[in-house]
Structure formats: C-alpha cells, structure tokens
C-alpha cells in the first residue's frame, strides 16, 4: 500500500479543484460551495486512509516519492510523511471541510445590519482560495525537499493574503488591507531569511558532497561547522518564529486574526501557524543539532515570555478575535517550549499540542464567528448574558474554552502536561514558571465567558438572537467530539507521533534525562 501516491494525490486534488472552482461563474455560488465541500471531504477521507496505511513503527519517511525538478540545482519534487507531518496533514484536511461548512453563508450574506455587501466578493473565488490554501498546507507538510518546502511556504501566503484582504469584515476596508499587508510583509521577511539559509545549506552540501542538493534526508547527514550552523539556524528560526509566532514577532497575528473571515482565521491560526512550530521540530533541530542546543535557552526564554505575555494581553483584550489570537501566542509558547526542551515527552507533547490547539482554537474561532454573525460586533461589550438565549452556543463556547485552558479529560491537557512534565525533567525552574501560566489561562478564558455569557442579558433586542442552527451544530459536533475523545484516549495519536519525535531527538543527540531516584528498574509498559 505504501507505493500508493497518497501525498501527491492529497496535493493535486485540492489544487485541481481550486482551478475548477475558480472558473465557476459567480451566479453559481452554491455549486462552487458544493464542489468544494465534496472535494474537501474526499480529501479528508483520503488523509484518514493514509493515516491508517501509515506504519508508525517504521523509521524514515513513508509514502515517499521523488522526481527531479530542477536538475542543475539538485531540486526535486519529493514528498514523504513521518509521524509529525502526517498528523498535521490530517488536522489540515479535517479543518478545511469544517471551515467550508462554517463559511457557507459568510461570503454572500449581507452585512449584519441588512445592507447588501458592496465591493467585489466572489463566492467561487473565496472557495477556490480555500482549496488553494489546502493544497499549500498539504504541500508544506509533505515536502521533503527543503526548496520545495520553501516554495510551498511562500505559496501559502497568497491565498491567505486575499482571504484577509478581500473577505475580511465588510466595513473595515482600511483595517483589513492593513492586516493583510502586514501579514504578507512579515511572512515575506521571514521567508527571505529562510531562503538565504536554504541557499546556504545548498552551498554547504555542494562543498561537502561535490554536488549540491536540497534533499532533506541528505542534508541531515551533513556535518556543518558550529559557526555556520548558528547562522543557518537563525535564518530558519526567525522565519518560523514569525510564522508561529513567538514573542516578539507576533504583532501581525492579532491584526490578521481579527480581520480574517472566520474560516480564514481558523486555518490561519489552526494550521498555517503550525508551519512555524512544525519547522522548528522538523528542520531546525535535525539540521542544526549543535545550534539547537546552543540557542535552546534563548528559545525557551522567548517561549516562556510568550506564555505570560500572550495570556496577560488576552486578559486585557476587548475584541474577541484578537483575544483568541493572543491566547494562541501563549499556546505557541508552550509548543516552542516543548520542542526545545529536547525531551521525547515534551516533544511529543508539543506535536500533540499543535493538533489540539488547532482543534480548540478552531472551535473558539468558530464560536466567536457565530456570535459575531449574530450581533455584528467583535467587542465583548456587545454581549452579556448570552447563555440565556443561546444555551447550546454557550455550552460549546465553554467546551472550547475549557479545552483551551487544558482541562483534564479534554485534548489539550494531555499535550500541555506532556510539555510541562517533559520540560520539568530538564529545566525545572522554567517548567515551574510556565506552570503558573495555567492560572492565567483559566483567567483569560473564564473572564471572557463571564463577560459574554453570564449576567443579565445585554439588551432587549438580544432576546431575539437564535441559538445554533442545524448547520452550525454539524460544524461544531465533530470538533467537540474529537476534543473529548482525544482527551480521554489520545493513544492512537501518540503512537503515530512518538516514534518520529523520539527518533528526531535521538538523532540530534538528545536523550531523556533519567529519573533521579528510579523506583522501577524496568520501567512499566512495553514501548509499543
């Protein structure tokens, strides 16, 4: 089954569908939606099948394919999946159909006060952009050629730029253009530094091997001098730190998050930003092991600052979408910390965190989007006591929030605890400080819930607000179910991620610290 071109298929289907949907006439908007939904569902099923076909125990990339692309520079179209990229592809393909369904009426609906939408908002173009974005996301995770990775890394920006710039809040023309340009410039700056580092890698490989290459597996084998490693590491790191984003490269995120359409925000924060954290663990650590150890304290410091900074800023926000964006800053802090603690527990936790954060923040953005669609405002002041009129929505909001604050029994807890416990074994003080962050997480989520959902109803006209529609329930149901299921039984996911993460760290020369007073000579549990 492994010779089946899973990844290429996953890449081509949305790309082709994007072209098809783009040429659908504007008046056939519904057709465009239906095609998109069908394609993205097929895509998800394919990704699921690929996950089943994946053999976690086998080392190295699976479903690998390699065709020479630009022979002169040793660039090839080569794709492959390991445990880390596979779960992220699965996350991406899961979220896209949900986003499609959630955005069903968002583009062609009139603005909340009833006036028709002005300007050029083409429904087919919107869904074509989503499909193009999906192709880009799959590509960036599947690429095993560093140059190909770079190409997808930049290609993803384009659909996202248009999603923010053209499909953001109707009335905030200036702000959404600003946000879109800010997003693009930030990402391009990071991409540029990464390009320089990618070329640097090529030069080093040409020096050492005679012929240069961009092939990841080959580049891993290089023996780069520490000085060069540090420079190249920084090139990659800054790109990923902007993408993730880590403090202090984060200021584009609240703007982009607030000005995106709901679907765009979910994909932006849920998946696109994961490219940054994915890059840290996939590229930075294996390619530059010495530099990773050297810079680990710096990254960890930024991560912990991010945890607190993001949380405190989230508490201070009044714009709900910005608030969620800032909570993500805190969560990315946890992910970066888990990655650079360099223990298999923390690393596995970090990768799980990427998936779980996609689900929990995705759900938060969905719920906030539903609220905004009902009342037309992102300001918390426009809401109070909404639980009285929209109990189901309030319940889903609470579940999303509880997942975000890592309540045990929900998905994020597993990842957050793994990150903290894994970090604790190596950097105690850091883990202790970071653990205090969970109090702040409770505050930003429950304070938001308190302000929007409890108390007397905000105004009499809010009494007519409707609870979740059937479509909206269908949208949130799978996410809620997954949030609970992965909290209770995360083993399937762990089993996919763990071997890859363990191998990544071990290859880079990082072994888990042993317990200081081990009680069991033979630790429990077979490492199945």
């Amino acid at each position: 089954m492994n010779s089946f071109p899973w990844l290429t298929l996953l890449l081509i289907i949305p790309a082709a569908a994007a072209v098809v949907v783009a040429v659908v006439p504007r008046r056939l908007g519904t057709l465009a939606k239906q095609i998109t939904l069908a394609v993205t569902l097929v895509e998800f099923v394919l990704a699921l099948l690929a996950t089943i076909a994946y053999e976690p125990a086998r080392a190295g990339f699976q479903f690998a394919q390699k065709y020479s692309w630009i022979k002169q520079f040793g660039i090839s179209y080569s794709v492959g999946a390991d445990g880390i990229s596979l779960v992220l592809i699965l996350l991406a393909t899961l979220l896209v159909p949900i986003v499609v369904l959630a955005s069903w009426d968002e583009v062609d609906a009139a603005s909340p006060d009833g006036t028709p939408v002005v300007g050029r908002r083409s429904v087919p173009a919107f869904f074509a952009l989503l499909l193009a974005l999906e192709a880009g996301m799959v590509g960036v995770f599947a690429a095993t050629d560093v140059f190909l990775f770079y190409v997808f890394f930049e290609a993803m920006l384009i659909p996202m730029y248009f999603l923010i710039g053209s499909y953001g809040p109707v009335k905030e023309q200036a702000q959404r253009s600003y946000a879109a340009v800010k997003f693009l410039l930030y990402s391009l700056l990071g991409g540029l530094l990464m390009l320089a580092a990618v070329i640097g890698l090529y030069v080093v490989s040409a020096d050492q091997l005679g012929t240069g290459t961009f092939d990841f597996a080959t580049l891993r084998q290089l023996d780069i001098t520490p000085g060069v490693q540090k420079l190249l590491f920084l090139g990659f790191f800054v790109a990923f730190a902007i993408k993730a984003p880590l403090f202090p490269f984060h200021t584009w995120l609240p703007d982009a998050g607030a000005q995106s359409p709901t679907g765009g925000a979910i994909l932006l924060v849920g998946v696109l930003d994961k490219v940054g954290t994915f890059g840290l663990i996939r590229y930075c650590i294996p390619l530059f092991p010495e530099a990773s150890s050297y810079f680990a304290p710096m990254v960890l410091a930024l991560a912990v600052i991010g945890i607190f900074y993001g949380a405190l800023l989230a508490i201070g926000q009044r714009d709900m979408k910005r608030l969620v964006a800032y909570t993500s800053l805190a969560h990315f802090g946890f992910i970066a910390m888990g990655t650079f603690a360099l223990t298999s527990q923390a690393g596995t936790g970090a990768v799980l965190y990427m998936v779980n954060h996609g689900l929990s923040t995705g759900l938060l953005f969905l719920v906030v989007g539903f609220l905004v669609a009902r009342r037309g405002s992102r300001d918390v002041g426009a809401y109070r006591g909404m639980a009285q009129v929209t109990p189901t929505l309030a319940g889903v909001f609470l579940i999303a929030g509880l997942s975000s604050l890592a309540l045990p029994g929900l998905n994020s807890f597993v990842s957050e605890f793994l990150v903290l416990a894994g970090t604790f074994t190596r950097y105690r003080a850091l883990a202790i400080v970071a653990t205090v962050g969970i109090v702040l997480a409770a505050i930003y989520i429950l304070y938001l819930y308190q302000r929007t959902m409890t108390g007397p109803l905000v105004s009499e006209d809010a009494r007519g607000v409707l609870d979740l529609s059937v479509r909206e329930k269908i949208v949130v149901a799978p996410v809620v179910a997954l949030i609970i299921a992965l909290g209770i039984y995360p083993k399937p996911l762990i089993d996919i991620v763990r071997p890859t993460v363990t191998a990544t760290f071990e290859d880079a020369g990082h072994t888990d610290p042993a317990p200081t007073a081990p009680v069991n000579a033979s630790q429990t549990g077979g490492h199945s």
Binding site: G316, Q388, T516, P518
Partner: protein
C-alpha cells in the same frame, strides 16, 4: 499478583522491588538494607511484566465492574446534557437513579472487599493506557482499596441523598435537568478523583470536580454574583492545581512514574531525598489548600455559597472540599517521611480553624456561617492528618462524620431558606421550630453533632483529634491542642447562635403585609434525606471511633498508628476540657442570643468591635487578594496592552514608517527633467570609469 515468584520478599513490598533490582543487576545497593528496616509499608511491589503496575491485586470477579462506579453517573450526565429538553420531564429521576445505582455498586464492592483477606484488599483495575510516551507511562487505572472504598460510599451515599433532596428543592427551577446533569458529572469526577490509581488520574478528577463545582456555583449564571463567585472558585482552585501539577512533575522527574505504588513505595523506602520529598509534600499541600479552602486559599469557599443549597451541601461541605484531606491521606507515606511538611500542614490546619471560627461568628447569612464552619472543620482534618500516622485515620473519621452532619445542616438550611422565600439573613428568621418540626429536629441533631455533644458523632471524632494534638508533645503539642480546644469552644458559640437565631427566639418576620412569609415544612422528598443524614450524624462517629474500627480498616493504607504512646494529658482530662469549653461556648451564645433580644438588623460597623468588623470582612482576605493580586494584575495587563500597541507593534510600525519616509524623500530625485537624468547617468558612467581605473592601477 497473587503469587509472586520471590515469595520471601513479600514481607516488605519495597524489598520485593529491590530484590528484583538486585537480582537483575547482581549488586546490592546500600539502600536495600536500610529500606528493609525503615520501611513501614507492606504493600508496594514491582510492576508485572505487562504494562500495568500490579502492586495491587488485579481486578477480577465483582471488581471488574469497578469502572461502573464512574460510568453510571457519567452516562447520566451525558444523556441529560445531550438529550436536551426532551429529557426535562424525567431527567431528575434518571440522574438520581444513576447516582443510586453507583451507590449500590459501591456497596457491593465494599462488602466484597470486606470479605477478602486484609492483604488482598487493594484491587486495581487497569482500563487502558492513557498517556504512554517512552519513560512517561500513565494508565487510566482504578484502585479500589480501603481508603477509596469509604470515600466511594460517602460520595455516592450522601450524593444520592442529596439527589433525592434536590428533586424537591429544584422542583420549580426551569434548569432542573441541567442541574442533575451537572450533579452526575460531579459524582463521576469525584469518583475518578478517589478511584484513580495514579496521581495524574487523581489530577484529572481533581480538576474535573473543580469544573463541576464551577458549573454548579454559576448555575444561576444570570446573577452576576454567582458568575463571579464561580470564576473566583475556579481561579483559586487553579492556583492550588499548579501545586499539584508541579508535585506530579517532580514525582515523574524523581521516580519516573506517577503511580501510587511506585511513588509511595519509593517514599516509604527512603530512596527519595528529604528535600525532594518535602518539596513534593508541600506542593501537594498547596493543591490540597486550594481545593479544601484552607488558609491562604480559603476565600473562594464562602463565595461559592451562591450556588444552589444542595450543591453547597454536596460539593462545598461533604465531598469535594474534603478532597484535600483525601490527597494528604493518600500520599501519607510521603507525609510520614517529612516532618517539615507535616509541620506546615498542622500550622495551616490550626490557623484555618481559628479563621473559620472567628468569621463564622460574625456573619448573619446562614449559608456563609455554615461555609466558614466547613472551613474550620476541614482545618481540624488538616490538623489531624498533619499529625502523621497518629492522625491520618482520625482526619478521615472526622471527614466522614462531617460529611454527614454538615450535609445535613446545609440541607436543613436549604429547607429553611426555601420556607422563607430565599431569605438567608438569620436575623430575619426566628421561632421557626414550631412551623418546621422535622427540619428543627434533623438540623438540631446535626448541630449537636458538630458542637460535640456526646455521644453524637462530632464528639468522638473531634475529641480524638484534640487528644492527638496534645499527644504530639512539647510546646507545639500544647499550642495545637489549645488552638483546637479554643476552636471547639467558638464552634459551639457560633453554631448555637445560628441555631437559636433560626429556630428559637421571637419571630423577626411578618406573616402579613408586603413582605409576608408563610414558612412551612418541606415535602417528604426533602425531609427524608435530612432525616437519614441526621441518623448518620448521630451514629457515624461512634461507629468509626469506638473500638478503632475505621483505624484498623484503614491501617494498611495509612500505616499503623502508635495508639499506645504516652499521653500528654489523659484522654479523660481532654474530654472533660473539650466538653467544658463547648459548654462555655454554648452558654455564651445562649446568654447573648436567647436571653437578650436580637436586633432584626445588624448593627453597623461603627458600633461593633474591631474584631467583629474584621470578621465581617473575611479578615480582609478578599481585600488582600484584591490589593496584592487583582489590582496590580489589572494594571499590569493594561500596561502590557499599551506596551504591545505602542512598544512592540510600535517598533514594527515605526520601521515601516521609517522606510516609507525614506522612500518618500528618495523619490524626489525623480524630477522629470531629462537633463538631470542625463547628468546622473554621466556621473554614474564617470564613477564606473574611475572605479575601473582605480582597480586597474591599484
């Protein structure tokens, strides 16, 4: 693990572990010999070759149904939450049935456990592997042993009674179904807490009971006070949870496991350093303080009375808030080993006793008085378990007895509040005993139990704790004993005050006019549970303490107490003192609130003493929290928002503006005059030529 290959090692469990270790490594560490002599524990053993720790007997027969305990109420909660309005009509019945079914399962398992030999009374059920990452292996496993058994019975038993009571109490509430769903969720979480076989599962239950508590405090969330109280409870609990989480991380980093048998075995076997052990114990204590409303994290518990009264009885009196005591008892091998941490525990317990008592005297809100009473009674439990092996079982005994009488008191207060149209101010009560005889009798029995009238349950359990405190010996023993004695006196005072203000004296309410009240006895569905709890309050203490029943039952888990040690004061003297002090408290309250008339409105702060003012303001705990944490936090948040906009983003926007400005200047060179372009071209050409010449010559 019925038959272990190395049978000789079974006398000391940790010895088993070391035997195997030694056998595999062919070397005997110096620790091995010392652990044989020092280890008081006789139940920790090596993991089996399969993935699950089997220091405990594997669940078989009836015990393979242990998971049902959890799943029954969980299923109830899920059906009620997902079923929506369709389940409105019969939701409360389903919820009660789920709770009762869980109780029945608990009873069956309990008797099955009693039927076993003392060494087989710890049954573990492995459910599935929860978080397996290399060295970090956490299983979802349940442990049904002597300690969890009594908790299961308390939780499901009292829980079921309160479910029944709530059928009546919440009869007219439109959200009754949701209420029962949350109660079932609470039961499931609490059972998870006491049944988990490792600290991480306990932590999961720990936070989930926090969630249920949050949901139920804000049950009437349209009231801002309820929403705020719920958030406050969750925040303060999270502060405690940080401690528990860190303790678990430290266990993992030290021992490489979070399972009870590994961690506690290592603690008992003295292979963990004293500093680390003390750190773990103190972190656990922080968690326990948060959950149990102990100093300095006590401020959330009184606010939590915003929730419906059955919740105050179930969660904030009988079960959840005592989880801290459970945690310390469960981790008793750790606490036994570290004198320093136990000293902190007894200090916290003693301080909390006094705080709770003093504030309890000042409030006029009947539920708040009961809440502070709970705070101080849990203080007694902390004091007891802080005394080490001598007190663990006493703490648990008081916990169980308290579960009965305090739940009964809360349910009684709910009955009164119900009858008085949601009035909670005791000064507006009075003379209710004729109108609500059943409530009067049941409440009265609970009241007599808590002030320690022999032979009711509070007498036995509290008396023993005071005795144990004196027996600690030395100055500290006297200090603790006197504090506990003082607490008993004040308890008698404020509980008598509460009882007299509510049921006796003149009626300070009118049965006619605008604010007319028509107090009436509650329906049987409410009085029934109250009566049963009253029976429990009368007999529980004697049942547990006389003959050391509970102590013997729990000894395998908590370690043997050194019962026959030297007494500082003879038990008879302590009992006499306790009774004397309690009588003094009673007399004081009787003289003040029965003999003299009571004002229907409390006197303003300016007319009462300093202590009363301080007590009315919770001894300024909230003020302290607000000034030290909340306000600076708000300022910090605002400052950071400003900093992020002006500073960090300002830097970015500044750079952008700088580049924009620069290009604005530079474009001015494009004048549109062809000849100036030509000049610059010439200049460029000259530059190139000069450069070329320089390179050529240089």
């Amino acid at each position: 693990m019925a038959v272990h290959p190395t049978a000789t090692c079974q006398t000391s469990t940790f010895l088993v572990a070391t035997c195997l270790t030694a056998a595999s490594s062919m070397s005997i560490s110096p620790l091995t010999t010392s652990s044989v002599t020092t280890s008081p524990m006789t139940r920790y053993a090596m993991p089996h070759e399969v993935g699950h720790e089997v220091g405990y007997a594997a669940a078989s027969g009836v015990f393979s149904a242990t998971w049902l305990l959890l799943v029954l109420p969980l299923a109830g909660a899920l059906i009620l939450l997902l079923g929506g309005r369709r389940t409105d009509r019969w939701g409360h019945l389903l919820g009660t049935a789920a709770s009762a079914a869980s109780f029945v399962v608990g009873l069956v398992l309990f008797f099955e456990l009693r039927g076993r030999g003392a060494e087989d009374r710890q049954v573990a059920q492995h459910l599935f592997s929860w978080i397996p990452v290399n060295g970090f292996q956490v299983d979802a496993g349940l442990l049904f042993d002597q300690l969890s058994a009594v908790f299961v019975l308390l939780i499901t038993g009292v829980g079921t009674l309160i479910h029944v009571y709530s059928i009546g109490y919440m009869a007219h509430d439109p959200g009754r179904r949701r209420f029962f769903a949350y109660m079932n969720l609470f039961l499931a979480s609490m059972l998870l807490l006491v049944l988990g076989d490792n600290f991480l599962v306990l932590y999961a239950g720990w936070e989930l009971v926090g969630l249920s508590s949050f949901l139920l405090i804000k049950f009437w969330e349209y009231k801002p006070a309820a929403a705020t109280a719920a958030n406050k409870a969750f925040y303060m609990n999270r502060v405690g949870d940080v401690g528990l989480a860190l303790a678990i991380m430290l266990m993992f980093a030290t021992v490489g496991s979070t399972n009870y048998d590994s961690v506690l075995g290592a603690a008992a076997a003295d292979i963990i350093g004293y500093g680390t052990l003390t750190a773990i114990a103190l972190l656990l204590l922080l968690g326990a303080c948060g959950k149990s409303g102990q100093f300095p994290l006590q401020a959330w518990l009184p606010d939590a009375m915003e929730g419906p009264t059955p919740i105050s009885a179930l969660i904030h009196a009988a079960t959840m808030v005592t989880a801290g005591v459970y945690l310390i008892a469960r981790a008793s091998p750790i606490f036994t080993e570290t004198q320093a941490a136990r000293t902190v525990v007894v200090i916290i317990g003693a301080v909390t006793i006094v705080i709770g008592c003093v504030i309890g005297c000042a409030y006029d809100d009947i539920k708040k008085v009961l809440a502070y009473s709970t705070v101080s009674q849990i203080g007694y439990m902390f004091l007891a378990v802080g005394l080490g092996p001598a007190g663990y079982a006493l703490g648990i005994a008081h916990l169980l007895a308290h579960g009965f009488f305090k739940a009964g008191l809360f349910l009684g207060s709910g009955s009164v509040i119900h009858a008085m149209d949601d009035e909670q101010d005791m000064r507006k009560y009075g003379g209710l005993w004729r109108l609500m005889p059943v409530t009067w009798v049941t409440f009265g029995l609970g009241y007599l139990a808590i002030i320690g009238l022999p032979p009711l349950s509070g007498f036995f359990t509290k008396d023993k704790i005071i005795e144990a405190a004196f027996d600690k010996g030395g100055t500290s023993g006297y200090l603790l004993g006197l504090t506990a004695l003082l607490g008993a006196g004040i308890t008698a005072f404020y509980m008598t005050r509460l009882f007299l203000l509510t049921f006796h004296g003149e009626r300070r309410w009118s049965s006619s006019g605008e604010r007319a009240k028509h107090p009436h006895e509650s329906p049987t569905v409410m009085t029934g549970p109250m009566a049963l709890l009253a029976v429990g309050s009368v007999f529980a203490g004697g049942l547990f303490i006389v003959g050391g029943t509970l102590q013997d039952w729990l000894a395998p888990v908590l370690g043997e107490s050194h019962e026959e040690g030297a007494h500082t004061l003879s038990p008879a003297v302590v009992t006499a003192l306790t009774l004397l002090v309690a009588a003094g408290g009673f007399a004081g309250a009787y003289l003040r609130y029965q003999v003299r008339p009571v004002e229907a409105v409390a006197r303003p702060d300016s007319e009462v003493g300093l202590v009363t003012v301080a007590a009315r303001h919770d001894l300024y705990a909230n003020t302290f929290n607000e000034t030290v944490f909340m306000r600076p936090g708000q300022y910090l948040t605002r400052f950071l928002v400003w900093l992020d906009t002006v500073g960090v983003d300002g830097l970015v926007r500044g750079t952008a503006a700088g580049i924009g400005g620069l290009s604005g200047r530079l474009r001015r060179t494009q004048t549109g005059f062809v000849r100036s372009y030509a000049l610059s071209m010439l200049g460029g050409a000259v530059l190139v030529v000069v450069a070329a010449l320089l390179v050529r010559t240089g």
